[in-house]
Every structure is written in C-alpha cells, then in structure tokens.
C-alpha cells in the first residue's frame, strides 16, 4: 500500500501521471488531498454521458483503447497498437517530419506463435483467477477455474 504524498497518512488511491517533453512525473494522493488539490475524483453518475458515441460528438478516438486524438496530440503517446490504424494519416505526418523514409526496411516479423506450454497457461490462469475473485467477478472466476481444471486433466501440466 502506498501512502498519500500530501498527508502521508491515508492510502493513496488517486494516481496522477503528468507527461511533458518526454518526462513522466507520477503523484499519488489520498482522495481527500486529491480533492483539495482540485482533481476530480468522482465518477459521473451518468456514465453514458462520458462513454464515446459514434461521430455525433465529433471526438476522434481509437475504437480499441478509446484514446482520444487530442490526448495523443497532447502527450505524443499512442494508446495501443490499433491506434496506428485509427490515426494513420496523422501518424504518417509525424513520421514524414523525421529524416528518412516512412517505410521500414529493417527486420521483418511474422507472428508464428508456438503453442504455449501448459505450465505457463496455468500460472497465468491462477493469477487471473485470484484477481477475478478479488474483484468479486465470480462468474468469470468460475470460468477460469474450469479452464485450469481442463488443463490439469489434459495432463498438459505437472501437478
């Protein structure tokens, strides 16, 4: 548990990351101190008011990670690999500003993922299970438990 850097007493539950000129500064406050510092900590009651709607608001964002184009402009950081497809035109402009061509001529890569071993899967599943339980998502937890069971019965991992 990390403590609030303002009061040093309560648990820090509000985490603020500022990114400017390629430097990242993180601050951690408890709810009360965050409010004092003027950060909005409440979720809006009506969540639909902030969820993206298609087009009519005119806000461009990535369909996968919901990163708004304005956020990319502000930080220079993309949200996920799919952003490259969403904002291709603008990204090409950024790339064109650099010296050299846009087209990559180095090493190429084609995903040839080997079947992952049972042990690795089980380790991951167990972790996901405990997290699902922590979040009280019991339906998901049950599904994960079944997957672990299947994996063990298939004998793909050592007991």
């Amino acid at each position: 548990m990390s403590l609030c850097e303002q009061c040093g007493k309560k648990e820090a539950t509000v985490h603020i990351t500022r990114i400017a000129n390629a430097t990242t500064a993180a601050s951690h406050f408890c709810e009360a101190c965050a409010r004092e510092k003027g950060f909005v900590v409440e979720l809006p009651e009506n969540l639909t008011a902030v969820t993206p709607s298609d087009g009519d608001t005119g806000i461009r964002q990535c369909s996968q990670c919901h990163l708004k184009f304005s956020e990319f402009q502000a930080t220079g950081l993309l949200g996920c690999p799919a952003c490259y497809g969403e904002f291709q035109e603008e990204i090409d402009k950024v790339l064109a500003q650099q010296n050299g061509p846009i087209v990559h001529t180095g090493k190429h890569y084609a995903a040839k993922i080997r079947e992952s071993s049972g042990q690795a899967d089980v380790t991951r599943l167990i972790r996901e299970l405990s997290e699902a339980v922590k979040r009280e998502e019991f339906e998901l937890a049950a599904q994960i438990r079944d997957k672990i069971r299947n994996c063990s019965q298939a004998g793909s991992c050592p007991q």
């Binding site: 220079g76 950081l77 790339l95 650099q98 080997r114």
Partner: protein, 353 residues
C-alpha cells in the same frame, strides 16, 4: 567490506575486455517491442500490466534461451534495490520510479536485460565492454527471434515494429556507447567532436544520461535508427563513427604524452591526492578525478590500481551500491562521507600491496 567489493562479480560492460576498451568503456544496443493485443503501459490497467509481465516472464522461461534469466517484479523490491539495478544499467531510472507490475528480466551476468512495462511493453537491451555494436546486434537479434515466437509482437509491414511513441517505430533500435575521452577534453577539442556527432544525429550525454549534461571526459553517445535503415548497416555506421572518435582520442593522447607529459603527471598526482584526502565526495567529483587516474593507468603513468578495480570502485561509489555493501541505509548527508571513506580505504589497500 572492501574485500566483498573486490570479489563482487562485475557486470560484463565494465569488464574492460572488449575491443577498443581503452577509449570505449561499453556498448549498449536496445530494441523496443510491444505485445500486439495489449494497450501500451501508460494506458494499461493494473490487470493488463500484470498480464504482460507474466507473458514476458513465461516467454523467457520457454523460449529455449536457457534458464539463466531472472525475472524481477519491482512490486517486490524497495527503492534501494531498484536503484541498485539502475546503477548496474539493467533498467532506466524512469522504470525504477513507476509503480505496478513492472520490472526486468535479465540474465545472471547482466549482459542482457529486458525492461517490462516501461514506456513500451518490452525494451530489450544487450551490453558489453568495448566497441561491439555489430556483435551485440547478432545476439539481440537471436533473442528477439526467440521471444517473438512466444509473444505476438505489434508489427506493421509498412512502418515496422509499433511503439508507444510513433517517432520510434521501425526497427526500434538504439545504439549507445560509453566513452572515456580525457585527452580530447584536456585539449579542449571535445566540444568540436561532439558538435560533429550532433550533426550526424548522434547525441551526447553524461555518465548517467539526460539529466546530467555531457560534461567531463565520460560521455555517452547514442542514436536511434531511422526508418529506411537495416539494423546491421546502422550498427556498422555507428561503430564506424565511434572508431573515428577512438582514433582522434588516441592521437590526442599521443600528443599530450609527447608534449605535455608533466602537465598530465601533475594532474594525475593531484587527482589521486584529492581522492585519498577528501572527507566528502560527490559522484560527479569522483568521476572527474578518477578519470585522470584512468587516463594515467592507460598511459602507464599510474600503477596504484588496475582499470578493472577502478571500474569496480566506480560502481560501488554509487548510492545504492554503497548502501548495499555497507548493509545499512544512509542519510543523503552521510553518503558523500561514506563514499570518501570507501575511496580512501580502496587506495590505501592498493598502495600497501
């Protein structure tokens, strides 16, 4: 305590065994890779960060590179333990400060390290002593292939490996050298050399990278590959640029030795006295003074210790190493004092032998 430092396994990049290591202390190359199906670390939920961390750890366990890789989750380390890894150059200072499931997968000797969930999912680096960019690329290329079989990388046929910052897409490759240029510094031609490098897109920074400006004789020279360049030709170009600096530095050393020998021996003696006589030493001060001794050892003008021992000392005067080997936490004010004591006892031992 001194004994434990002198027998401590030194990271390969400080081993002083590579080609041109009289001038080039070490070479480091890194590539950026991201998982195709996860958000970049700055947008990822704690759950996704944990998942990426597990995937990378599993990938190294199963990619057939042997079981010499050690996975370290920063959640389990205190600030000093993280700083220790920063000082060994296995991770960046930025990663050491960030929270959540981030960390590093590295081989035991400290040649290869993979920062997990830094700005990108994977930042894989390989470093060693001397000027060896091409050799390191061959090694890193193989590791990259092996990991790429386990993790699906984000890759686009047109623009290359996808990165959190679009300007870094392409090969995701960066080559850096840590060079010791005392003669060019003494002859005041270092600024001109670094200017020329700047024009080639090679940036200079101090021993610890950006926050400390390039000053004094220890310089880091780095450049990221531009798109349109293959990895091997880029590494060759960088090595060639570095070779030119090596030639200039060696020539300057010869000139000083034949025309300004006394000036140099005087400088070395004074620096040695300052190091042995100081009651407090800051890191920057230590680096400047010890650079004169390093120059002296290279020119056979100083024989109270070897370069390898000096490299060890350079690592152990850094705050986290110092505290780890004293086995206690020191206040900010105590560190320069303990550092001076360590340096003094180091040279007293060397002189006695």
């Amino acid at each position: 305590m001194l004994q434990s430092i002198l027998t401590h396994a030194i990271p390969p990049w400080l081993s002083h065994q590579g080609p041109e290591s009289d001038v080039v202390i070490s070479t480091r190359i890194r590539v950026i890779r991201n998982c195709a199906r996860h958000q970049f670390p700055h947008r990822a939920s704690p759950h996704v960060l944990a998942r990426v961390f597990d995937e990378v750890t599993d990938a190294f366990r199963h990619c057939g590179l042997g079981d010499s890789f050690n996975s370290v989750n920063f959640r389990l380390l205190d600030a000093r333990e993280r700083q220790f890894l920063v000082e060994e150059r296995l991770v960046s200072p930025g990663l050491a400060d960030a929270g959540g499931d981030r960390g590093v997968v590295h081989d035991r000797p400290g040649r290869v390290s993979v920062m997990v969930n830094e700005q990108d999912h994977l930042r894989m680096q390989c470093m060693d002593s001397g000027c060896c960019a091409r050799e390191l690329w061959v090694e890193l290329d193989a590791i990259d292939d092996a990991v790429g079989m386990q993790i699906e990388y984000a890759f686009d046929n047109r623009i290359g490996f996808l990165t959190c910052r679009p300007s870094e897409t392409g090969t995701g490759l960066r080559v850096s050298f840590l060079a010791h240029l005392p003669a060019l510094t003494m002859k005041r031609s270092i600024a001109g050399v670094l200017d020329t490098m700047q024009r080639l897109g090679i940036t200079a920074s101090g021993f610890f990278g950006p926050p400390m400006a390039a000053a004094g004789p220890l310089v880091q020279l780095s450049k990221s590959a531009v798109r349109g360049f293959g990895e091997s030709p880029f590494c060759d170009d960088m090595a060639q640029a570095m070779q030119q600096i090596v030639a200039l530095e060696r020539k300057a050393r010869e000139q000083i030795l034949s025309h300004e020998r006394q000036l140099l021996t005087d400088k070395i003696s004074r620096s040695y006295c300052a190091l042995c006589g100081a009651d407090r030493l800051e890191v920057g001060e230590f680096l400047d003074l010890s650079s004169d001794l390093r120059f002296g050892i290279e020119c056979n003008l100083f024989d109270k210790c070897t370069i390898l021992d000096l490299n060890r000392l350079t690592l152990f005067v850094l705050p986290a190493h110092l505290q780890t080997f004293l086995k206690r936490d020191l206040g900010d004010n105590e560190i320069p004092e303990s550092r001076a004591r360590l340096v003094r006892s180091f040279f007293t031992r060397s002189t006695k032998e």
